[in-house]
Subunit: 222 residues, 2 copies
Amino acid sequence: MSRRSGILEFAVLGLLRESPMHGYELRKRLNTSLGVFRAFSYGTLYPCLKALVAHGWLVEETGGGPDGVPATALTGRRAKIVYRLTPAGKEHFEELLSHSGPEAWEDEHFGVRFAFFGQTSRDVRMRVLEGRRSRLEERLEKMRTSLARTRERLDDYTLELQRHGMESVEREVRWLNELIESERAGRDQRAPEPTAQGENDQSADTGGLPRHRGGSRPDPSE
Amino acid sequence: MSRRSGILEFAVLGLLRESPMHGYELRKRLNTSLGVFRAFSYGTLYPCLKALVAHGWLVEETGGGPDGVPATALTGRRAKIVYRLTPAGKEHFEELLSHSGPEAWEDEHFGVRFAFFGQTSRDVRMRVLEGRRSRLEERLEKMRTSLARTRERLDDYTLELQRHGMESVEREVRWLNELIESERAGRDQRAPEPTAQGENDQSADTGGLPRHRGGSRPDPSE
DNA sequence: TTCGTCATGTAATGGGTTACATGATTAC
DNA sequence: GTAATCATGTAACCCATTACATGACGAA
């Protein structure tokens, strides 16, 4: 009944926070903007949406505009079900955003968490990035020792696979180093939050990213 | 019936082909030598082993050596169940090895397939490598167009995530290019397979790997 | 008119983990 | 003697996919 996916729930709430959407559109955003990592199917998404509605975090808007004209009549298409985040849903999402525990930096979660860093407070960003980095470093350590013990007994292809795998992890660590450095630089520029956790801490100003190319953030009017 | 994992089945058969092992040891090999990718639990492994036995691809050796002395008496340990590949199992594994279809180069399978390239014939290796490469290239193409369409509407973090993701894929493509080149060079050295596909093509001589040149440090101990 | 895309959903199935149950052996 | 590791297994659950069912619209 529940279908408490965690990661999907988080992503859906986060996307709907920007603007209401219907399921079909949501899935596309999930697999392009956030995508790369996972490609959720409708069989996963729709039941999840229903569950979120049951929790009171979303509301369905089957009908049309404020005049009561059904969407079907307006668009001609099959009645879309537009999902909108409720205040309770927004609150819940912000609670999830504030978590910086181990779950946040595991393989499956980290990408999605990162995708919503724009809505995440700077100190949570830091903890997540550092957590991820130390996670990868301990993994690297394991790989190194395991490799040292078995190097002789492995054939060339297995060895090459191992080498490439380790290089990939090392590369991600370097990436994280850059990001952490940038975050720290950004933090130094402005006095960091005194003590209180302001409830309006979203819109957490984008403190720092390595300069590749930024561009602008025009408002998400749709 | 049960638990036809495909990838696990393949890896188990491949490891047992080298030498008989019991479940516990098998799992460790699975998560170190082949590891990095997946970490199978006993809840997955043991039922899988039973299923493979039921198929006649493995036999359990609960007892001791040829003299009939039980292993318990020999080692003192709890009776291990040593699994040994049957001729039918070996045949089955070699059949799996010869497949070079799309399943072989998808994310989940490719790593394990590569790990057993030492047992794979050269032309299959080529097809798998090239298949993987074109798979990644088409993924890259999708990412590029999707990025081009939505670049303006994405915030800096999402953009950075996308950029890093694409770079990772590009990096793997370059890796594959090197590998393919090496394979081709190895092939040129001694023109194999005149026209027919030799049935005894296993023990495929390790034709080519980038011999630790060009950026690959052979010794990670710093 | 047929095909591609939009749009929503469900039932069966798959593939895997977690937690549990059990117990022997080794190292301290 | 007790903790860690070796060693095998099962049942309950979880998350997600696949295949299916339905149907409307736009364009060729």
